[in-house]
């Protein structure tokens, strides 16, 4: 379909006549979950809550259970009841769509196949009457970008298409209200990007710092730390497997444990001291008081989910007693992990990667590295507008720690403000949906099916990289 055949430029003027389709479907294609849905036709007056209802979060994986059955995408949440030893195949590696065989299967299942699509809001019936807005992680490999463009336009044939850097789309959100700034009058009617925004996107496969200026990323300032939620889960899995039960095959369960118990410590040394078992003998109260918790593991036979509860130091003794006295089998079969310093040591690697031997800087340092290659005049503006998105932002204590460390590291004259949206996972999608309501802006960046057929995929790649604008 004419990929390598750029036509003479005279034809381009004809192609311009065709405009983008009315409907815009947005896929924020994360490594862990896809955030997908149709963009609204216009800006809603209330704060995004109405818009967000159109956005669904779908696991982006093929899952294989112990019983050797394979499930696709959203089936993980609806049909899988036994979470032990789940195996995952993820089409997205390091934040980039690598395996299109798997990705196509999940997309087909989630958006195209009318039998399996969960709701009408997610079904793409006529791709040629739809504009697809697909996010990608910054610094993608050109070969992978080309693959994405070719599949989207040649396999499904979307009427319009825009591949955009995910973190930059956050600038289209109502950032001012998040930071408590006055909202400019003109932005109430049409969506427009905020001027300076430093986006920290801490997701599944990595943590990215992206300085965004007027909705466009400043490429030289983009920095990546190769630690994300996946690494935290694996690390927790490893530590627990060494100290307690062997959990190396329980990625799904340990992820639940991580989400339930982990937090970012504001005083690492003090918390370590508090959880040190050596303190027990000195006649102090039980070490780890207030930090140590039990996590009761899920029981697939009884169809029970796992949950966290306060630590009971005498649990094992009690169990022994009740076994003698013949207590209910339920209490006996229950298995719990005791989590003490694991709760904050694991997320700590986001701030001190040295703890696992990584030679990269932690998040606050990475922000400074990103700013150091930008003009100093921009530093105050970026430091005053730091936005954190991505699943790791939900770790309790993350925001406080980040703000404290940034404040200490930044120049005293600069105001440092770090904010997290209510829903950091779907915030990028929300920003994209606001961009989609501004048809003029969308038209600037997106391409139509006709243009793709005229100019081919390498042209599309150049267009999305911004090389042809202005």
């Amino acid at each position: 379909m004419g990929t390598a055949k750029p036509r003479p430029p005279g034809r381009a003027s004809i192609a311009k006549v065709q405009s983008l389709p009315e409907k815009t479907f947005i896929i924020d294609n994360g490594a862990h979950t896809m955030k997908a849905g149709y963009a609204p036709d216009s800006l809603s007056s209330e704060e995004g809550t109405g818009t967000l209802s159109a956005c669904s979060t779908i696991p982006n994986a093929l899952v294989k259970t112990r019983a050797n059955r394979t499930y696709i995408g959203s089936q993980l949440n609806t049909q899988v009841t036994d979470w032990n030893e789940l195996m995952f195949r993820r089409p997205v590696e390091k934040g980039y769509i690598v395996n299109w065989e798997a990705q196509k299967e999940i997309w087909e299942h989630s958006f195209f196949d009318e039998k399996s699509v969960r709701s009408k809001n997610l079904q793409i019936t006529n791709p040629d009457e739809t504009t697809l807005l697909l996010t990608e992680a910054p610094n993608a490999l050109p070969a992978l970008q080309k693959n994405a463009d070719e599949i989207v336009m040649e396999e499904w044939g979307f009427g319009g298409y825009l591949r955009s850097i995910g973190p930059a789309l956050n600038a289209w959100n109502e950032i001012q209200s998040l930071f408590g700034d006055p909202i400019p009058e003109n932005s109430r009617l049409t969506a427009s990007p905020t001027e300076c925004l430093l986006v920290i996107d801490s997701g599944y496969s990595h943590t990215m710092v992206t300085p965004v200026y007027n909705g466009q990323p400043l490429q030289r300032g983009i920095r990546r730390l190769d630690i994300g939620g996946k690494h935290l889960t694996n690390y927790l899995k490893e530590v627990v497997s060494v100290r307690q039960y062997n959990m190396v095959d329980e990625t799904y369960i340990m992820n639940e444990v991580k989400e339930a118990v982990c937090f970012v410590s504001n005083d690492f040394a003090k918390d370590m001291e508090r959880t040190w078992k050596g303190n027990r003998k000195r006649g102090q109260p039980e070490p780890g008081e207030g930090i140590t918790v039990d996590y009761v593991l899920p029981d697939p036979n009884a169809a029970k989910k796992g949950f966290m509860r306060p630590h009971e130091p005498l649990m094992n003794a009690k169990k022994g007693k009740s076994a003698i006295s013949g207590a209910s089998a339920e209490a006996l079969s229950e298995d719990a992990l005791v989590l003490g310093n694991e709760r904050f040591v694991i997320p700590e690697v986001l701030f001190t990667p040295r703890d696992i031997g990584m030679k990269q800087a932690g998040i606050p340092d990475m922000v400074l590295q990103s700013l150091s290659v930008l003009p100093t005049g921009l530093h105050p503006a970026f430091l005053a507008n730091v936005l954190v998105v991505g699943g790791n932002a939900l770790l309790p204590g993350f925001m406080d720690r980040l703000e404290t460390e940034l404040r200490q590291a930044a120049s005293a004259e600069c105001v440092v403000r770090v904010r997290r949206p209510e829903d950091p996972i779907r915030f990028t999608w929300l920003g994209a949906s606001r961009l989609a309501t501004n048809k003029d802006e969308l038209q600037k960046y997106a391409i139509t099916r006709q243009e793709y057929q005229e100019h081919g995929s390498s042209w599309a790649g150049r267009k999305f990289s911004g090389a042809m604008q202005l």
Binding site: M87, V98, I175, D365, G377, A381, S457
Partner: protein, 282 residues
């Protein structure tokens, strides 16, 4: 899991898809001058003399372990569809050769990255290292700017000198200059701590009003003391911003965050983690 490590050899030939590296194996000349610390251990177990590289390998292996999706290597094939496939295709026409090639590709990210690196190395030997590639981009930016515009270059900003030059001008002229520049700035809590900026006329008027009291501060001879002055750099011009926005993305490896800037007083040591096994053994 097997592990292939590419050693930088003197005669490596990077090409897309594969790399030839000369394996020069164990170098006895180098082994002879290994540090004399822990001689006894060296005698007992000569192969373990190179502690740092062993530790390094352990760390690399551990990090690779943390990066895994599943603990075991398994294949999860895409579920097979029943004949419906052909019917589903009907409206969409034929599979193009591009699509077929991409769908059948079983390359991993590592493969793509290696291809990319090899292609880059071939294109320009100078831009293979991270520092070199960054420098190259920095040069490109400075080229974009005319030489007359020397107030703040993005590549090597010299805050001290430019600040002095600008402060010698009257505030009025500074403001008028600023108002011609669209601001790279969102409103924030304290306007006086921000660089001069304004978008609309009304906004710049407000700015002038807030700046007025500054001029009426009590003057003293220490005002010009560079140590006491609070330095706020001015926002870069629109032209610099355009040049910055027009830059191409960094390569995947160049965008990786570097080692920490603020060096800690000491490395934290944990005795109970896997990484440190080697430390304990030695």
């Amino acid at each position: 899991m097997y592990h292939v490590e590419l050693l930088p050899g003197s005669s490596s030939h990077p090409t897309p898809g594969w790399t030839y590296v000369a394996d020069r194996g164990f170098d006895p000349a180098k082994a002879a001058i290994t540090p004399a610390i822990g001689r006894k251990r060296g005698i007992r177990d000569p192969g373990r003399a190179d502690i740092s590289s062993r530790q390094n390998n352990a760390i690399v292996r551990h990090l690779a372990e943390l990066d895994r999706e599943n603990h075991r290597d398994i294949q999860i094939p895409v579920p097979v569809k029943q004949q419906k496939d052909a019917a589903g295709r009907g409206t969409r026409g034929k599979v193009t050769s591009n699509v077929r090639r991409i769908l059948q590709s079983q390359k991993t990210f590592r493969n793509y990255l290696d291809d990319e690196e090899a292609a880059l190395a071939q294109a320009a030997a100078a831009t293979t290292t991270q520092s070199a590639s960054q420098r190259a981009i920095a040069n490109r930016v400075t080229k974009h700017q005319p030489s007359s515009h020397r107030s703040s270059t993005p590549a090597t900003p010299k805050p001290e000198s430019t600040a002095k030059q600008q402060r010698k001008k009257s505030t009025a002229s500074a403001l008028s200059r600023a108002s011609t520049i669209p601001p790279p700035e969102t409103p924030s809590e304290s306007t006086e701590q921000q660089p001069p900026q304004s978008g609309t006329e009304t906004e710049s008027d407000e700015q002038k009003q807030t700046e007025q009291p500054d001029d009426q501060l009590i003057k003293s001879e220490h005002d010009d003391d560079p140590l006491l002055r609070s330095y706020i750099p001015s926002a870069p011009s629109q032209r610099i911003m355009q040049a910055l926005l027009a830059e191409p993305p960094l390569t995947y490896n160049a965008s990786r965050a570097g080692p920490p800037i603020t060096t800690p007083s000491s490395n934290r040591q944990f005795c109970c983690f896997l990484v440190c096994d080697d430390v304990l053994n030695d």
